[in-house]
């Protein structure tokens, strides 16, 4: 049986390849070409230097080099069209609609565990292995594949993986789930991988420098589209005007910097009303919410929600899960009622439900 290793050229996926090779597995290395970093490089305000970024030639070089060292067949597969359609475009549209998207989850759902898995199966591999920090086991009693938090809580990536279907989980290996990042770097050293000390990637892979606003402008310019005029008013919670803003896509719920308002106490973005082009600002306590609604659900440890259920809910990647009670609140919609109010519930982000270490499921916050 052949396993396809999703290789990014980073330490984690390279170590996965080396580990599986050492186990004697039959492997094929695949790297997805997702985005051409040079595409927007000539646009206003976009950095020209894009080396060392995801999908850069340097990363492909690193991945290819690892495959050579391990003597495994290696290929770069072109999924740029799909990436643009299913990740870039929704990313831009979500911001323009006043929400805050998570491209990594979209990429996992539509590219890594869908298109790449399909490619893997097409070329004769039955499973894919990735360098995600997560665990994945079959529970014969429940008859379900269970996604669990990894040994290294600080690297936990399960938040981005809540959209995986049972079929996808059944064909996916997360060999790093039982290791901490320092252990993985140590393993990389032991396997003789020259990139053992390569820094972790942090930002959104297709946005060099991390300035998403410039990216949106540059992308729309390239597409020959004008940035829709979503400029409008900044209002206080009571509705009174506090000034003007230059477009809803420049704001994220919970944002404090860049509001351009003078105030004796710190002001935060409380909510964004795309239709009325209004951005509501207020004091920090007004960010607190005692519930949220999530749609487009995916269940992992359960087949579906029956009645009410207690769960810990994570509402952004760096968020300590908060206790809540889940109940169905509509077709493909769940309401989570928190025991204690949580700060900055942000439409467009995912709400992921945990039962201890297990991912129960999740959905997109509306």
């Amino acid at each position: 049986m052949t396993i396809a290793v999703a290789m990014s050229g980073g330490v984690d996926s390279s170590t996965v390849a080396a580990m599986l090779k050492a186990e004697g597995q039959e492997l094929v290395g695949l790297t997805m070409q997702l985005w051409n970093q040079r595409r927007l490089a000539d646009k206003d305000g976009m950095p020209e230097q894009v080396q060392g970024r995801c999908c850069s030639i340097d990363d492909v070089y690193d991945a290819r080099r690892v495959a050579e060292i391990l003597s495994i067949p290696y290929y770069v597969v072109n999924h740029q069209e799909r990436f643009e359609r299913d990740v870039i475009r929704p990313f831009v549209d979500e911001y323009l609609a006043g929400r805050t998207p998570i491209p990594c989850s979209l990429c996992n759902n539509h590219l890594k565990f869908d298109q790449l898995l399909l490619t893997a199966r097409q070329i004769g591999a039955d499973q894919i292995a990735t360098g995600h920090y997560a665990r994945n086991e079959y529970d014969p009693q429940r008859g379900r594949w269970i996604l669990k938090r990894p040994a290294d809580a600080s690297k936990d990536q399960t938040y981005f993986l809540f959209g995986l279907t049972q079929e996808q989980l059944s064909r996916t290996l997360f060999p790093l789930g039982g290791f901490t990042k320092p252990e993985v770097r140590e393993l990389a050293h032991q396997y003789g991988l020259a990139l053992a000390n390569k820094p972790d990637s942090q930002e959104i892979c297709f946005i060099p420098g991390g300035d998403y606003k410039r990216f949106i402008d540059a992308y729309l310019e390239e597409q020959g589209e004008v940035v829709p005029d979503t400029a409008g008013e900044l209002v206080a919670v009571g509705g009174q005007s506090r000034g003007k803003h230059d477009g809803v896509h420049n704001f994220t719920v919970g944002q404090r910097k860049g509001l351009g308002l003078a105030s004796p106490t710190p002001l935060y973005v409380i909510s964004i009303d795309h239709d009325r082009k209004q951005v509501t600002v207020g004091a920090e306590q007004e960010l607190m919410r005692d519930s949220l609604r999530a749609q487009r659900l995916n269940w992992i440890s359960i087949a579906g929600l029956q009645g009410e259920m207690r769960a810990q809910v994570k509402i952004r990647h760096r968020h300590e899960p908060a206790w809540a009670t889940l109940r169905q609140s509509g077709e493909d919609e769940v309401e989570a009622r928190f025991d204690e109010p949580v700060r900055a519930v942000t439409p467009g982000q995912a709400a992921v439900f945990y039962g201890g270490d297990e991912v129960i499921g999740g959905g997109w916050i509306v």
Partner: protein, 375 residues
């Protein structure tokens, strides 16, 4: 089965080159005996290449390959204010060179092709302007093998007194080339596409046709290409040209055509059509469309089983890019994605053909089964 990417170096070519890589290391520009030996070998090779192209030896300029030959022809022929006509199915070596001319103030025009990938000679005539300085149209397409009406275009160019460049990289050794019959002023070939060494090529430059050199330097190649001659490479190219002439005369090219047709017949039981199959092609290329399949997955799956074929062009990362040739032919993106190029060389065997048919059949069946399950 990817000979349009590159071909194996023939043993006799390696043998011809060997002395010049080992003991005969003279610089062909030196006046001493070692230099003269190298010079003599270079000139012998020049005569061989001239025989292949039907030109005078003095009209052959050695280069580092097809790309340099194309670049020398294109950049050496036009300057700002001139007009250049090319086609939309050219190899990137011409396409991107002409595009760059466009960025430098040259008016450039890429003619469309029909559904078979053929440029209409009449379109060339219509595109002519008083300031047209160059027409550049390939002889055989690298992806489909489709032959262009270069003789007709050559007549039009002659009547109009416009310089005509032919990229014959994929034609050399597969069909007879005669620069007089074509009526071109410039013609590019590459060594490694015809069993010669990589990194070698030549440009036919008709007498009294002035090309602006790409490199500044010595007076090599009659001041058309500065830089110490790659003597061993040139000797290899010369030998490869001799072998190509021999192949065209001895029937081994016709044998290759028979095998290509056998491959095509066999594969058409699994494929949905031949891209460019309704027009004249070089006898080694078959570009096949497999409906609803992903060409990239097919290429990888076949490579894992030991069969090398190709889909589209490779981008800098090594991933395949959608073929500009198939797109220019008006084929839907889905068809372009599901198309594979098989290309043979003169030494491809019948066993290899039969094995390829078998491997493709198995792989296609598996992919079709999988797509039935996953959709």
């Amino acid at each position: 089965m990817d000979a349009n990417a590159t071909t194996p170096l023939l043993p006799e070519v390696l043998e011809a080159m060997r002395p010049f890589l080992v003991e005969l290391f003279g610089n062909a520009s030196s006046i001493h005996k070692e230099g003269q030996q190298a010079r003599s070998a270079v000139e012998q090779a020049r005569a061989s290449v001239a025989r292949l192209l039907g030109c005078r030896p003095s009209e052959v300029v050695f280069t580092s390959g097809g790309t340099e030959s194309d670049n020398l022809a294109v950049f050496g022929s036009a300057k700002a204010g001139d007009h250049v006509i090319s086609s939309s199915v050219e190899h990137h070596a011409v396409l991107h060179a002409v595009e760059r001319l466009g960025e430098r103030g040259v008016e450039v025009e890429f003619l469309p092709v029909d559904g078979q990938g053929v440029v209409a000679a009449e379109d060339v005539r219509r595109a002519l302007r008083p300031n047209t300085k160059l027409i550049s149209v390939m002889m055989a397409n690298n992806e489909t093998g489709v032959l262009q009406p270069v003789e007709e275009i050559g007549r039009i160019a002659r009547e109009a007194g416009v310089r005509f460049h032919v990229d014959a990289v994929q034609a050399a050794g597969k069909v007879a080339i005669d620069v007089e019959a074509i009526g071109c002023d410039l013609l590019s070939i590459s060594g490694h596409k015809m069993h010669g060494p990589q990194g070698t090529g030549a440009l036919f430059v008709r007498r009294r046709t002035r090309v602006e050199p790409l490199f500044a330097g010595g007076a090599h190649e009659r001041q058309r290409r500065a830089g110490t001659e790659n003597v061993a490479g040139i000797v290899g190219l010369g030998k490869a040209a001799e072998c190509a002439i021999e192949g065209l005369q001895s029937g081994s090219v016709e044998r290759m055509r028979g095998l290509r047709d056998r491959l095509e017949m066999g594969l058409l039981e699994h494929a949905s059509g031949v891209n460019g199959g309704q027009t004249a092609r070089v006898p080694n290329t078959s570009n096949l469309w497999f409906e609803s399949l992903d060409g990239e997955a097919l290429v990888i799956g076949l490579d894992l089983k030991g069969l090398a074929v190709s889909s589209g062009a490779a981008c800098s990362s090594g991933a395949s890019e959608p073929s500009h040739v198939l797109q220019a032919m008006g084929l839907p993106a889905e068809r372009a994605r599901g198309s594979l190029r098989f290309s043979l060389h003169r030494h491809t065997t019948a066993e290899e053909i039969d094995r390829a048919i078998e491997l493709v059949a198995t792989q296609v069946a598996r992919l079709r089964e999988l797509s039935a399950v996953t959709q």
